[in-house]
Amino acid sequence: MSKVLLETVGLCKHFGDNKAVDGLSIRFRAGKVHTILGENGCGKSTTLKMLAGVHPPTFGSILRNGKNVEFKSPRDSRDNGIAIIFQELSLCNNLTVAENIFANNEPHRFGVIDSKKIISDAKGILNKYHIPISAEIKVGSLSMAQRQLVEIAKGLSYPSDVVIFDEPTSSLSDSEVEILFNIISELKSENKAIIYVSHKMAEIMRISDDITVMRDGQYIDTVDKAETSIDPLITMMVGREMSDIYPSKNESASEIGDLVLSVKSLTNPNAFHNVSFDLHAGEVVGFFGLVGAGRSDVMNALFGMLPYEGEILIKGKKVAIETPIIAIENGIAFVTENRKEEGLVLDHSVHINCNLASFERIATRGLLNEQAEVSQTEDSIKRMNIRVQNRHQSVGSLSGGNQQKIVLAKWLERQPDILILDEPTRGVDVGAKYEIYSIIRELTEKGTAVILVSSELPEVMNMSDRLFVMREKKLVKEFKTKGLTQDKVMVYATGVDSND
């Protein structure tokens, strides 16, 4: 058994009533890749943030080489030899690769930056881990994937023996993934402990030694990779059979209705090209693609937030959607992927937020109709099972799932014909996910047309009738979802045959 470098004992993080992480005990050993696996919202990110000193734990402790440590800040964690590479980029585009790698940690003499040493040290790190990027080039001129590699080099510039990767491959292409895996095996041979978080089962099975599964903030189990396979891992992760995750479709009501939306060669030179599709009443059309494929941009254009060329026909009538107001008047509702920034006013009450899109419609001659608003709010809370103390509570204090339900509620008050959902279950726990899926089913049975944009392939495949795949700002394929398999979709989404 190799040495335990880092250990958590009964680690808990509670945000109010929300137990993001509840009693987590894991040992991270030297020379091993330890993967933490779980669905969105299972507490992985929160765990990493505690290890990184971003969040202090509510209960429990972190042991470093067997000794109790308390991280008061990210700096504390770093000084304890823990390097973290987050998925969000934190690079300055107008600085060089070398300057970015040593940002905030510049080698200096009497406070004057030693720019020669920065370049030579940066070259040393890039060479050591075989990263094929010049140290003197400006970060702004690199691709997203190359920037991610610079981010990794930056993380490795601090002396450390525990290295944490948070979804490092989400924006990497295959060749860069190979570079990353070489880096990881290099780190392994240096006898460091590697903590790895990812959604991609294939790569997890390839590089992990130990796998810990989390679900709803709870520790489920730690298993040896050699003694497990993908299926039992998924069952552990989800905690129920696949059939219980998605509400089944009421087949008798599945008759697809009239054409409600017809999009013809929609183009925005910077965001998407030549997108055409039809949408009928009562159907769910899925949009899948990798990050940056242009899915959200298309939806923003449909909602009047992004200019476009081409035609949009709603119920056969050509409409120029220049503003969200025009989109809403034409029966479109849009649940964006950023509910906190674009969907809700976090400081304001559940009441205000539930009526955000409808208070003007139920008002008479510019006067608020408070009675109608209150009854709408109470109806929504009951109907969507939103867990709140009362309608005056501020939505900022609610969990992700309840916030998302309020964004949905705000649009359902307007009874839209076309409902666009962009990543509706991101950061939402499994229970609330099921409820959101049930609402989608209920709406389509009543004839609402739904566009479902998601990065979770099982979600779009199970919820949609038809599925569109976008790659590099283009619609590349339409599928019927009946009998469709994930790898077929991935071939079109990545442009690479997975069997290669």
Binding site: T323, P324, L344, V345, D347, H348, F359, L368, S397
Partner: protein, 313 residues
């Protein structure tokens, strides 16, 4: 209703009451009818200007030009009247000028997408300069114009007319902000302009209308101030924007937008007025009184920040 009112304003209302209580010990003259009337008259103009400022701050903005608008409105009115034009014509013209000033603030803010601090700071100089130019930098006096004098010096049903104006402005603005769809839009845009736009609210329109109201309220203040001084002075209301901002902030209006009420601003304005009043009753040095006012504002804001942090945690 009454219960929720007290819960919402418990902090500042308590502060105001304690201040009044202490004042009544410090000076026996404090609670006399004359003095209380005096306090309300003193504060009426600043309070009304601060009501307008509340809209700007609710939008996470600010209006530094209100002092200049006060002066300009007064000048337009008085110059018109001294040239023999009727009061019934000049009053709406003067107020329209004020609304136009507010429109300029709102329009340029949304059009250029610049922070209103910059835009209104520029207009603070512009309108003050216009006021100086039109009057040659001199005060313009006006006597023997009955309706003009009545504004600040008249009585209606035995109540000083400026108090009637103050009460109606409280009612009007409170109604607009709490009962109309426009008021709701102001709170939503101030709370999260992005979410407002995604919910189908016209953010630019809401912003421009709000600054027009801010301008109008400064105009009402300008008319009252001119009437009070029987003259219009291009240097009038210099620095009044700061008193108005102070009243809003003391009253719990958040500079980050989306939170605040007219009643809060009123109480904030009263706190400043009572503080000034009691200090002048006690012959406190004017310079010392400035320091005391500054410290009181800091304490009030500190308490507010602390309360919100505790609520968020």
């Amino acid at each position: 209703m009454i219960k929720s009112f007290f819960r919402e304003y418990a902090g500042i209302l308590g502060g105001l009451l304690i201040l009044c209580l202490v004042s009544s010990f410090l000076s026996e003259y404090f609670w006399s009818v004359n003095n209380v009337t005096n306090i309300i008259l003193q504060t009426s103009i600043v309070a009304i200007v601060a009501f307008g400022m509340t809209y700007a701050i609710l939008l996470a903005g600010i209006d530094l030009s209100v002092g200049s608008i006060v002066a300009l409105t007064g000048l337009v009115l008085v110059i018109g009247l001294t040239n023999g034009l009727p009061f019934g014509l000049m009053l709406p013209i003067a107020l329209l000028v004020a609304v136009f000033c507010g429109f300029s603030n709102g329009f340029i803010t949304t059009w250029l997408g610049v922070h209103p601090f910059i835009v209104t700071m520029s207009f603070m100089g512009i309108w003050r300069g216009v006021a100086m130019l039109t009057s040659d930098g001199q005060a313009v006096s006006l006597y023997d114009n009955a309706p003009f004098e009545y504004i600040f010096n008249g009585y209606l049903f035995g109540i000083p007319f400026p108090i009637i104006i103050l009460l109606s402005m409280i009612a009007l603005n409170h109604f607009v902000l709490s009962k109309t769809t426009f008021g709701r839009r102001v709170y939503i845009v101030g709370g999260n302009p992005e979410a407002a736009a995604y919910s189908g609210i016209n953010v630019s329109k809401t912003t421009i209308y709000s600054y027009m109201i801010t301008g109008l309220m400064a105009g009402v203040g300008g008319v009252m101030l001119a009437s009070r001084m029987f003259s219009a002075q291009p240097t009038a209301a210099n620095g009044m924007e700061l008193d108005a901002i102070a009243a809003c902030v003391l009253g719990g209006t958040s500079l980050t937008g989306g939170r605040g009420t007219i009643i809060g601003t009123l109480i904030g304005a009263l706190i400043i007025a009572v503080l000034s009043n009691v200090m002048s009753l006690m012959n406190v040095d004017f310079f010392v009184s400035l320091i005391v006012k500054g410290v009181v504002i800091l304490i009030a804001v500190g308490i507010d920040v602390y309360k919100n942090k505790r609520k968020a945690a």
